[in-house]
Every structure is written in C-alpha cells, then in structure tokens.
Symmetry: C2
Subunit: 331 residues, 2 copies
C-alpha cells in the first residue's frame, strides 16, 4: 500500500489531510443532508425508523495491505456495513468513517480509501455523513452505517418450519480467495477464474438490490459475513428451527471454487470447495428464509427449514461452524 | 491498564468477550429502541432530523493507558462525541462503539470501558445501539454519536456582530492536566486542586444541560475540543465576524490553573495559565454566541463579536491557534 509520489500525512498535517479527503466526497444532496461534513456534526433527514450498525477493519487483523489496495479497502469497509443494513430489510441512508494511520502513510492511501468508500456508498444509495481522522500504529478503518426502515425489521428470529432457505450472491469465494492469497498467489498475475475469487476477498460487492427485493416477504434475513454454517446457524437458533441444506445446490455453489482447490494442490478439491461454501464468510451473500412459493428473482433455494433442534445440517449430518473469530488465532 | 485477575481476550475468544461486554449495557428502552444490539443492526425510533458525528481514540496517539483507566476512557470516548451532538443544538439519541485490542488484553479493560461509556451515555440520555469488536496492535475506541434535531441546527456560521461570546463549562483544565501528567505527576497522589485538573483530562464531563438550555437562542455553538482560540476562530471565520475576548473573564478562568503552572515550576504561572485557557482543548466546554440580553443561567460571558476580520483577539492582539493536530508531532 505504497504510493511514493504522494506526500505523507505528517508532511501535510491533519488539516491538510482533511482538506484532501473531503474533496473526494461527492457533495451531499441538500434535500436529504441539509448539513454535510464540516460542522460539529452532520444533519440529515430520515423517514421511518433508524437502523444502526458498525464494523471496524484493522490492518494485520482484518486485512493485509499487500493484498488490498486502498480503493478496494474502502469498497470493503463500506460494503460489509451496507450489507448489515440491508440484512435488516432496511434501505441505506448514510455512512460515517473514522480513519487512523501512521504519520508516515502517503496521503494517497487515505484518498484511495475514500474513493472506494464513496463509490460503494453511491452504488448503494447512501450518503457519506462525515467521520474522524486520527494517528495510530497501523491503518484503521472504522465505519458506522445508518439505514431507514418503513416496514417491519427482518430479524434472524423469524424463520418458520417449511420455509425455503434462499441465497442471493455467492458463498465461499472470499474464503477461497483468502487461501489463494495466503498461499502466495499474486492477485494481478492469477488466471481469471482464480483472480475473480481473490477479487471477492479484496472488494466484495453484495447484491443490495436482491436484499431489497426480499425485504417485504422474507421471514428471516442475514448477511453471511461469518459463513453459511455460522450465520444460518444463528438464524436457526434464534428462530428455533432446523435448517437442512440441499447438497445439489451447495455443489453448484462449490463448482467455481474447485479450480482454486486444485491450484492449491488439495488432494480432494471438491471437498475443499464445499468446505469454503459452508464456512467461508466475507462474500456478504444474503441468506433468507421465505415461503417456498414466494422466492424472488435473483434468489436461489439452498435448503429448507424444519421443526427441530436449531442446527444446520447437510444430508442429515450437523454442519460445524468454523468461521473466523477474533482473538483465537484461527483463520 | 492492567488487570491481572481478569482473563484475556484470547482466552475468552470473540464470542466470550462479546457476551461479557453486552452484559455491561443497560437494556434499551423498547419504546425507543425496538431492536437492540444482537441482530445484524439495531433499530430505533427518532423524532426530527438525524445528527451524526464520530471520534476515534487510539492508544499512544489520543491517550496513554498509564494515565487513563478503562472506565475513564469509556467516559471520555462517550463525552467527546456527545458534546459534538449538543454543539449542533441537538438532543442525544444513541451511541455506537467499535473496540479494537490485542488478544493479550485483560477482558476487564473492555468491560471497564463499556461501564464508563454506558454511564456517560446514561448521563446524557443516549442509548447504546451496538458496535463491533476487532483485534489490533493497540487499544482503539471508535465512536459514532447520533442525535435528533427538531428545531434549526445551531451552526458555526451564525455568529453576528454585537453577539456576546459565552462559555458553559471550563477551558484549559484538560490541557493543564495533560502537562501535569507529562511532567510525571501521578493522578492518585496529587493535591486536590491538581488532581481535579488531571481528572478533566482523563474523563471530561461536558455540561450537556447548559448546551440544551442555549440551543434555542444561540446564533452559533461549538464544543471547544481544540481550544478557545481554535474553535472560536472557526466560528469567527465561518460567520465572518471578529471575536474580541475579555481579559477579566479569561483571568478568572485561568485562576484555578495557576497552581498547576506553579507546580510545574513555570517562571510566569499566570501567563502559562492564560495560555492553557486560550489554546487547551479536551475540556469540551461549550462556546456560543448569543444576544447579550439572552445569556442563559449557567453561561459566562467571555467576549463580544464585532464586524471585522474573522479573527480572535485579546486586548486588540490576534490570538494564535496552537491546538494539537494529528500527524505533526506537536502537542
């Protein structure tokens, strides 16, 4: 994440850095945001109830700069928060971003992050409402996303026996991309099918329109940031239902991942690909449960909810949740 | 910031840490927050327009753990954000907090931060709406504060010639407290008058009620997080007025700081105390401009706005803004 031609943060000073960052933001729509960034706080108009969520990305912990250029990092920081807003059945309203970085950081790193962040906000229809800038020992991107809800919230706890389990977006691609990066696969030189997986890890692009299309009919909705087993498991536990996955549907989702497993020399590429689909997070695919007769365009059925023991199963066997958790040292 | 009896974050794992943190939060009022922390996002009801601001505290940059126990750090993180909400003339609504910390951190550090954070939120009447937890090389406390505005926003740009410049709260105490800490003055063993200054640095307690009392009549309002010269200078520039400070008022504000300047061996304690009042931030006192006949209870007049050159002056001389800025290496 180097940009040798660009002055550093310490060369520009806080006010100089802020001035450069603010120029990367589109002017907010004054009807929606009567006071934009620059005063003590921004003022915006919302209709309905307010939806609030936050996610922080820390260098070395949630990303490695060598794998993630600034623009993609900004996309990812916006996308993972906007996905949570949509996972409540809400419409995106605004984003707030706090950046921390060492003084030796080239300012292009921060303006690149803002470019990606603003572009993804625009794709989702969200305004950038401001933020903060601090020093720090590493790059920190801390985001709060705000949404609005005029109908009922779609919670994790609403799944019912008989519901279809449906997916919009992909599963396992970001996890396969991460394993390729960990194995030393360079994003730029990789074959197109592998590069596509790495791209999902670096800059996920959730299908916001699909989430919006199901908000009125879904009984439960979640974004699979921690993987299918983990996040569908949360829905099943919160709803008191069992979720039985469909092997054919998962095999179809795993098929594009088999070349990556092969490239990694895995002796059982199909099994590795299925493992990514079941446990890999960070694609930010959306998982919903819905009446089987009301599956919207853009959604794929991947299983069925049944009365039962609140677990996730495949061919009658429980599926373990082995998603990444902070502090435990596992990935 | 050590707590040897407490298990570390890596011993508990992310889910165990989250479970401990969530128990420190008061259950939100279901009429105001129908969906609290725990789903993909929180849902809350607001009346009026939405006010949004953010501030991030990074260990080693914005605080040193040796000076700031976890509870006070939580108070400070909430207070500096809630002050910005009030500085728009808004009522506080909710807070979102993202925490980053190394896995070796005792969990009591994070639960202590949450205790202070929740207590200050309660004092201001704000709900804690959720947040995020990540690893990191140091302690990171990143906060977004939300408020609601039913009347007009009180901007920095509304000051008028003839307005009284008024203050609620204190100026320079946090800066004096910081200089005492930098000189090695231990918070616990210090004489009461010095300890009181250190306390303002460690855990500022802005006068939210005073800010609310002036919201309907103030022409301009700001929280003096970067000091009187810097923040009143922003008001003067945004409003196109000159702000003339009153020496007697500043001398009265400086008087409680003179013992600290003496304790530091300053050859001119009165001048040092006045310097803290003019340039020290982080007390989060509120500065407003208002019709001289409409100064509310709890506010002290410290100057006058005049038509003129957009600067801050004392006895006709310009006052320089030497507030701390990130990345420049100065304090």
């Amino acid at each position: 994440m180097n940009s040798l031609a660009s002055p550093t943060l310490e060369a520009l000073g806080e006010d100089g850095v802020l001035a450069r960052i603010l120029t990367r933001l589109p002017a907010p729509d004054p009807a929606r945001v009567p006071v934009g960034p620059g005063d003590d706080a921004a003022v915006s108009r919302i209709e309905g109830r307010l939806v609030t969520t936050a996610d922080m990305l820390v260098e070395g912990e949630d990303f490695l700069p060598a794998w993630c250029d600034p623009v993609r990092l900004g996309v990812k920081a916006a996308a993972q928060n906007l996905a949570d807003v949509h996972a409540m059945g809400a419409a995106p309203h605004g984003l707030v971003i706090s950046l921390g970085a060492p003084g030796t950081t080239p300012v292009d790193v921060l303006t690149g992050i803002m470019d990606g962040f603003a572009a993804e906000a625009r794709r989702a229809g969200a305004s950038v409402l401001g933020g903060d800038l601090s020093g720090g020992p590493c790059l920190i991107v801390s985001v709060t996303a705000l949404g609005t809800l005029t109908g009922p919230a779609v919670l994790r706890s609403g799944a019912r026996p008989g519901d279809a389990v449906v997916l919009a977006g992909t599963l396992g691609r970001a996890a396969a991309g991460l394993d390729l990066l960990l194995a030393g696969c360079a994003p730029e030189g990789a074959p197109a099918d592998l590069a596509a997986l790495i791209e999902v890890q670096r800059a996920p692009r959730p299908d916001y329109a699909a989430a919006a299309a199901i908000a009125g009919s879904a009984h439960a909705l979640i974004d699979a940031s921690d993987g299918l087993a983990g996040d569908l498991g949360r829905v099943a536990r919160a709803s008191g239902v069992a979720a039985a996955l469909d092997r054919d549907a998962l095999t179809a989702l795993a098929a594009p991942l088999v070349p990556a497993a092969r490239a990694l020399g895995d002796p059982d590429p199909a099994a590795r690909a299925l493992h990514w689909v079941l446990t890999g997070g960070e694609d930010h695919g959306f998982i919903a449960t819905v009446d089987p007769g009301r599956i919207p365009v853009g959604w794929t059925r991947i299983g069925t909810c049944r009365a039962g023991d609140s677990g996730v199963s495949l061919d009658g066997e429980p599926v373990a949740d082995t998603a990444f958790r902070h502090f435990t040292g596992d990935r």
